[in-house]
């Protein structure tokens, strides 16, 4: 069977397609804003999952690629006058390039050592960018207003940005599916299960891991550019939040790591929960504590995540929920 004949390929794609399409049709600003946050979460979590879910490498500081790519894209757009699309790709490519550069070295580390190194890389990048004058140092950059004019003013520009994000998210989901169901992906899964055994069977682990790291770094760079353009400014404190990095991990874990559908379900579930807790009169002050307690319950009792759990318990859904 070809890819386009598989329900597992279409399900996540159609969900995002219909959802983003509906937002574009209804054309309401508040709806766009909340959909932006959600789609961004889906995109980031899915990118992380390509590395985390398929190779088992826990990139704790993955947000560094959102930050570095976002900064670069923002700079190209605002200071160099590049179009949004090109800037976003530029941001993504820079993230991918950095990942390729550091990947070969840090991916030699295993388990918690790798996780620690990625935290270090994120903190070092944050500190560096805070000192990097072309990127505005500690105060960051504000968007050059003329950048909006290309898209017919700030209002329409936001819609354009949303459309790009929508498409990017779908591309991430497609990439995630294709990687998982390719020969390359099979090698990654083997690395995840037992890296040494995989190498004995001929899987070139160092190369495969680095390529995967590059792929999973590219999309956060694109998404970062779109996000900070939407915000109108960028600063080190927003671009390299370790907390956001961990939220991405939580979303992947919640939905089910190593599945294509999982990060989608996890991101939407997490954001919905967060929104609910933040606005609920009972939990408002304690939202962080409640979210923490729920995370703990998931990790201790449903380690496969929601999608993983359903897949393990309902045989018939295995072909649909990839």
């Amino acid at each position: 069977m070809k890819v386009w004949q598989k329900p597992g390929f279409w399900l996540p794609l159609v969900i995002v397609l219909v959802w983003g399409g509906a937002v574009l049709l209804i054309h309401q600003d508040t709806m766009r804003e909340s959909a932006f946050v959600l789609l961004m979460a889906v995109g980031l979590a899915s990118s992380l999952n390509i590395l985390l879910g398929y190779t088992g490498y826990v990139s704790f500081g993955h947000i560094v690629f959102f930050g570095l790519g976002g900064y670069t894209g923002f700079y190209l757009l605002s200071e160099q006058g590049w179009p949004l699309f090109a800037s976003a790709i530029g941001g993504g490519l820079l993230s991918a390039f950095i990942a390729g550069l550091v990947g070969l070295a840090v991916l030699r580390l295993r388990g918690a050592y790798f996780a620690l190194a990625t935290i270090g890389i994120n903190e070092a990048a944050r500190a560096f960018v805070s000192n990097f004058e072309p990127y505005g140092g500690a105060t960051g950059m504000f968007v050059n207003f003329s950048a909006y004019q290309k898209y017919g003013g700030p209002g329409p520009a936001l819609w354009t940005t949303f459309t790009f994000l929508w498409i990017t998210t779908m591309v991430v989901l497609v990439a995630s599916y294709l990687v998982k169901h390719s020969r390359f992906g099979l090698g990654l899964l083997a690395i995840r299960e037992d890296e040494d055994a995989a190498m004995v069977m001929g899987v070139k682990a160092p190369k495969a891991k680095t390529i995967t790291y590059v792929i999973s770094a590219f999309f956060p760079g694109v998404i970062g550019t779109l996000y900070f353009f939407k915000n109108g400014n960028i600063e080190p404190g927003d671009a390299f939040q370790l907390h956001m990095s961990i939220e991405m991990l939580v979303m992947v874990m919640l939905g089910g790591m190593g599945t294509v559908m999982g990060p989608l379900v996890g991101a939407v579930g997490y954001q919905w929960l967060r929104g609910y807790l933040l606005t609920s009169p009972i939990f408002k002050d304690l939202h962080l504590a409640v979210a923490g307690a729920m995370l703990l319950v998931i990790i201790l009792f449903v380690p496969a995540g929601l999608v993983g759990w359903v897949r393990n318990h309902v045989q018939r859904l295995q072909k649909v929920l990839e």
Binding site: L52, G56, V58, F60, A105, V106, R108, L109, G111, A112, Y113, A115, L116, A117, I119, G120, I121, E123, A124, R126, A127, F128, S130, N131, A138, I246, L249, V250, M253, M257, D285, L286, H287, L288, A289, V290, A291, G292, A293, L295, L296, I299, L300, P303
Partner: protein
């Protein structure tokens, strides 16, 4: 110039002792059970607030207050271990990382609800000490002394008590220790408790230097990572040395370049050491 350099370095080194204690808690837990405790920062903050509350509301001398704070830290660690860590102790690293991070969220969440995030400080001064041309707050000197005392106690405990020897046995080889009849679950819980106890005490000491908020533990947690890696993950004495190195760097760097470059150097060094010598600068290859 030289005067300024020496005084800045001294300042950094004194602070480094306290960093060392914070990192020692993290490295102890890692060494015994290969878990990176992401609730480390909030526990440091709890130590700050415990000391603060005892001092401000009950008038307890902050240094005396650290005794009950240490006790509370130990108990908190035992509770965290039993609830959040024990079940994932043999699971992949991601599970224990996220489980301890969940605890982090819970503590920060409750802490924010109770104390808000506005800064507090312990209004207790010991004056300052002058040695030659050097002048520094006496609290730094007491802090460093406290750090050495805590380290000495930890070592006496690990090397001269039954429980301490059991911890070392489990750290060395959990399976072998179990075969010899050491109840490993209890030993793991105790180690986790000791680790958080060190964090709480470090928090108390730091609170006598600087103002702090519920979120203040975070930066010290990150510093602890750096220190542990410099000194070799899993080696308590290495953590003290690593702490001194980090403190020294923080004292020295600002005399050569803007202060804002300090974290670039720190974390750059951190990643480099992880890559080149993951066993630490002094650890066996």
């Amino acid at each position: 110039m030289l005067d300024q350099l020496i005084s800045s370095l001294t300042d950094g080194l004194l602070l480094g002792f306290v960093y060392g204690v914070a990192a020692m808690g993290l490295t102890l837990i890692w060494g015994v059970m290969s878990v990176i405790n992401l609730a480390h920062g909030p526990v440091i903050a709890m130590g700050m607030f415990g000391t603060y509350l005892l001092f401000t509301h009950l008038g307890v001398n902050p240094y005396l207050a650290m005794v009950p704070v240490a006790g509370a830290g130990l108990i908190a660690g035992l509770v965290i271990y039993v609830i959040a860590v024990h079940r994932v102790i043999n699971a992949p690293h991601l599970s224990s990382l996220l489980a301890t991070f969940a605890v982090n969220m819970i503590i920060i969440g409750v802490g924010t609800a109770v104390f808000s995030t506005s800064p507090q400080n312990i209004n207790y001064s010991l004056g300052s000490v002058e040695v030659g041309f050097l002048t520094f707050p006496a609290s730094r000197l007491v802090g460093a002394f406290g750090a050495i005392l805590v380290t000495a106690c930890l070592y006496l405990f690990l090397y001269f008590t039954r429980a301490g020897k059991a911890i070392r046995a489990v750290a060395n080889n959990r399976m072998a220790a179990e075969l010899m009849g050491i109840p490993s679950s209890r030993v793991l819980a105790l180690s986790f408790g000791l680790g958080t106890m060190m964090a709480a005490v470090a928090g108390g000491l730091i609170a006598t230097f600087f103002p702090f908020t519920v979120l203040s533990g975070g930066p010290y947690e990150l510093k602890s990572f750096v220190i542990c890696v410099l000194g070799g993950l899993g080696h308590p004495l290495g953590a003290l040395v690593g702490g001194l190195m980090l403190g020294g760097l923080e004292g020295l760097i600002p005399t050569f370049m803007p202060v804002s470059w300090v974290p670039v150097v720190e974390f750059g060094l951190f990643v480099l050491v992880l890559l080149v010598r993951p066993s630490g600068l002094f650890g066996a290859k």
